[in-house]
Amino acid sequence: MAWLFVAPTIALLLAINIFPLVWMIRLSFTSLNLSMSYLPLRFVGLDNFTDILTDEDVWFRLQTTAQFVIWSVALQVVIGYGLALLINRQFRGHSFWTTIILLPMMLSPAVVGNFWTLLLQPQIGPFNYVISLFTGVPPSSFSMTGQVSLAPWTIVLVDTWMWAPYVMLICLAGLRSIPDYIYEAAEVDRASAWRQFWSITLPMTVPFLMLAVLFRAIENFKMFDMVNLLTSGGPGSTTELVSITLKRAAFEKWRTGYSSALAIILFVTVFGAANIYVKALNKVKQR
């Protein structure tokens, strides 16, 4: 009887999760090209994997992705932690400011991508005017999404703007979990605020920080929608993250077998990182 109740869920999981995964694994060993799908399906063994793992272009795209992940997560952690320290204090309008800070992470990445595209427009966007106000550089003389030197920082900036509040939330949970009596004991021992931060606050929030870093790193490794809307991987391939390479291989070049193999490589990487994430999560739960 119990099986009968669980059966619809299992059937759904099999149909929308397991079946496509198994099908993709199968396709990764073939030379299928959807623009020439009339050709018979040819088994090519590990050729697609060998092609990807010896391809310098894919390697460079993975490095671009890693640079994006490192910079955006580092900025998110610094800003998120700073905001959490501020919000953890009691002040007038505390709830209002918390809500305002959390707004960006409640938006859809598609919306964020679209409105930042407008904000960053060199001719009509206010972003260039604000920069011009502080630096004196003419607003239409630079393009945040169109210049090789600026575009990578633009996607880091927008991602940080959107996700620093999430890191703040996790850090805030960590800060609120520190019992007051520890600070009271430190006060009795006449520890300075700086000393209290380094000896109590930071060590006790490190597991939460680790959690935020792992979660954001995994999410940013898979980042597609926002970057695709903002720069589409350009100018040239300066901001082409590996997810955009995957989409181009699958739906522009129609190399289905090759893109399935690339998808498996990314899936295994994210799955491996997720195992470490779950382990870190359990450690935080045990505290």
């Binding site: 793992l53 993975l62 295994v268 799955f271 491996g272």
Partner: protein, 66 residues
């Protein structure tokens, strides 16, 4: 202690989860670094096998006793 208990404790010491899990996670982390490092394409070439070995290893060792 009986012989079988000694043998059992020896086996469980060998197959205790902690160090194996740490090893598998190191393999995964090392593989990810190999995948994105900018210095050697050979390391990049072996990265997927390393991550895969670490991930499969992790799934297996996570069933070991605590």
């Amino acid at each position: 202690m009986s012989g079988s208990a000694v043998a059992k404790s020896g086996v469980s010491r060998w197959f205790s989860r902690g160090p194996w899990e740490a090893g598998a996670m190191t393999l995964i982390g090392g593989g990810i670094i190999m995948l994105v490092q900018p210095w050697s394409i050979d390391l990049y070439g072996y990265s997927f096998v390393t991550i895969l070995a670490g991930t499969i290893g992790y799934v297996i060792v996570s069933h070991f006793p605590e």
